[in-house]
């Protein structure tokens, strides 16, 4: 499918492929872009229609429509997600969201019931900062430290480079990309997204999520600790929980086979 034929799809650099009646949509989290999902997504191409995309401000999305004011909360990203779902006429699709996208997906199901019947949350966290009676794993000072780090590491980002990254939208292969470009974001946007992500609190939304949900929890994940995954599982009305052997926050890259098996078992 040609993403350019529809402005919503073009804006999010939407990539649709695969054979199958049912759609499985993959959403990247904080840090990198849709490329993160390639090692897992390719395993579902034969049985599903696969949808990959970049949030506005990331990857090869249309940076010109980004505004810090508009994207000041996760709901704005969820609305974009719903927009893509509508453009593709999704019904009872599977949504696989990594990291912050798990909550964006949950918000999208509340906004548009019926679009996604099944959610896969990989390393979800409804709130990163500790609160009374809740341990998210972060303190506010630590978020500031993270923002500082982002300021020190622009990972080769330069505004002049952006058109080159976006110009290749007909060639999604890794080889066509510039060094670091998968995770290279305009520093201002990266900082905004870090704030929106790490200061979010979606605990109260979880109880209303009607979709069947699989919580995929990594062992030893400093961003979404095991107890947070257990909290999400306990709070969601209809969820399954699976603790992966994979360590770190990105099992889609470090253990794509294990993630694939878990998703396959669930759907």
């Amino acid at each position: 499918m040609q993403a350019e034929s529809n402005p919503v799809l073009a804006r999010h650099s939407v990539n649709v492929r695969g054979a199958g009646d049912r759609t499985m949509m993959f959403a990247h989290g904080f840090g990198c872009d849709q490329t993160m999902w390639e090692p897992v997504a390719r395993n579902f191409e034969r049985d599903f229609r696969i949808v990959l995309f970049d949030y506005v401000g990331h990857g090869r999305s249309d940076l010109s429509v980004y505004s810090a004011e508009h994207y000041s909360n996760l709901q704005a990203y969820a609305d974009d997600l719903v927009g893509i779902g509508r453009a593709l006429e999704l019904q009872d699709a599977v949504f696989v969201g990594h990291s912050v996208s798990a909550m964006i997906g949950a918000l999208a199901t509340l906004r548009s019931p019926g679009m996604f019947s099944d959610l896969v949350m990989v390393g979800p966290s409804p709130r990163y900062i500790d609160d009374e009676g809740y341990r998210g794993g972060f303190s506010r000072e630590q978020i500031e430290e993270l923002l500082e780090f982002l300021a020190d590491n622009h990972l080769g980002w330069s505004a002049a480079m952006a058109p080159a990254i976006m110009g290749n939208s007909d060639r999604p292969e890794l080889s066509a990309r510039l060094e670091n470009s998968f995770c290279s974001t305009d520093p201002e946007i990266a900082r905004d997204f870090a704030r929106v992500t790490f200061l979010s609190d979606n605990r109260s939304d979880l109880a209303s999520v009607a979709a069947r949900t699989l919580v995929l929890q990594c062992s030893n994940d400093i961003i979404a600790p095991v107890e947070v995954g257990e909290y999400v599982h306990a709070t969601l009305p209809r969820s399954e929980y699976r603790l992966l052997e994979a360590t770190g926050h990105c099992p889609n890259l470090s253990a794509p086979e294990e993630v694939t098996t878990a998703i396959r078992d669930f759907v």
Partner: protein, 375 residues
């Protein structure tokens, strides 16, 4: 054998190289580290082995490593020029720069990740100073913009509010002239007052135009072809003649009507150019006023003899509040700026040429709806 080069000891090079070496397992544990990095961080050489990499880097860097660098390492096999803060055994931060690369086995399996690290205290300070300076410059520039906006709003409000008392004064003058018995001297004074009120109103109108222009509203113009332009321009020329009795104005009209324009605004443009010519021209030589259509364009030019405009000044003529060094310096220096804005709003252009012979302003615009301008 004093000319023989000393042999390098690779084991010693690894251990005491002027950079830190750390190798970490796929699950993030340190499997090997050299003496240099151990010393920088205040550990015994074998103390680091077995620790998690995250035990020796700052929290912010851990998150970023996990969300940005680890994925890049998996996807690219390497990441270069990363900035991290390491933590000493005492918990102090040591800024470093480094490269990282994955070492994979023959089967492609990830064996470990190698990090080469350089202390970068001064370099980081320098970079942060630059970033801070940029942030400060941006903040200042924002402050200036805000101040300019505030000033323009103030001008707009002031200009607007000045109109009412001026209108009241003008009405008062009219009443006095009509209803009262006045001495000859009284009439002269009233005439002078009338002239002053007129000038003040013109200044206020210019100010309002300026404020609207810089507030982004642009010059509101209403273009149509409902009436002829020639009479409007004749009126402007007649007014200019009545105001400046010592200057002669030779006017020529050759307009194929109708011209698609805002006649009031084109009249204002013509009046401003004439006022400028009267101010800067020599009274001995007539001012040439020419308004004509040529093909698809409407062209209006005003020329006067007088001192040549210095080259450096030409570029600034159309800036607001610019006032040349002429003999008379009436007004705010907005006339040409407003003429320029009117030209722009009509998709036209305003050019100036100045020689020792004459100074000529030429305004060109498309004469018809949807027409393009003559090149």
């Amino acid at each position: 054998m004093s000319d023989q080069l000393p042999l390098e000891d690779f084991e010693d090079l690894y251990e005491t190289a002027p950079c830190g070496y750390v190798s970490i397992s796929p699950d993030g544990r340190i499997v090997k580290a050299n003496r240099t990095i151990s010393q920088w961080l205040g550990f015994e050489p074998d103390e680091l082995v077995g620790k998690a990499l995250y035990d020796i880097i700052s929290f912010g860097a851990r998150i970023a490593f996990e969300t940005h660098l680890a994925p890049l390492l998996r996807m690219q096999g390497h990441v270069h020029e990363i900035a991290l803060d390491l933590l000493t055994s005492g918990g102090e931060k040591v800024p470093i720069f480094g490269n990282a690369a994955e070492k994979r086995g023959p089967d492609g399996r990830h064996l470990f990740t190698r990090l080469t690290l350089f202390k970068a205290v001064d370099r980081r300070t320098y970079e942060r100073t630059l970033v801070d300076a940029r942030g400060k410059a941006e903040a200042e520039s924002r402050a200036y913009r805000d101040a300019a906006l505030l000033r323009d709003r103030f001008i707009a409000v002031l200009g607007h509010d000045l109109r009412n008392p001026l209108a009241a004064t003008a009405a008062g003058i009219r009443l006095l002239r009509r209803a009262e018995q006045l001495s000859k001297r009284g009439r002269t004074i009233l005439d002078e007052m009338d002239g002053s009120v007129g000038r003040a109103s013109a200044l206020v109108n210019d100010l309002l135009d300026l404020a609207r222009g810089s507030l982004g509203g642009g010059f509101l113009i209403e273009r149509n072809a409902d009436a002829p332009l020639t009479p409007a321009l004749m009126q402007v020329v007649a007014e200019a003649r009545s105001v400046s009795t010592e200057s002669q104005i030779d006017a020529r009209f050759d307009i194929e009507e109708p011209v698609y324009c805002d006649r009031g605004r084109i009249g204002q443009l013509a009046a401003n150019l004439l006022a400028n010519a009267v101010t800067h021209g020599t009274p001995e030589r007539p001012i040439e006023f020419d308004a004509s259509t040529r093909g698809e364009s409407f062209v209006l030019s005003v020329a006067n003899a007088g001192e040549q405009i210095p080259e450096g000044v030409v570029n600034r003529l159309f800036q607001p509040f610019f006032r040349g060094s002429g003999p008379s310096q009436n007004g705010l220096g907005l006339g040409l700026f407003i003429a320029w804005e009117i030209a722009k709003a009509h998709d036209g252009q305003l050019d100036v040429s100045s020689t020792v012979e004459e100074t000529r302003f030429t305004f060109t615009m498309p004469a018809r709806l949807g027409g393009s301008q003559r090149p």
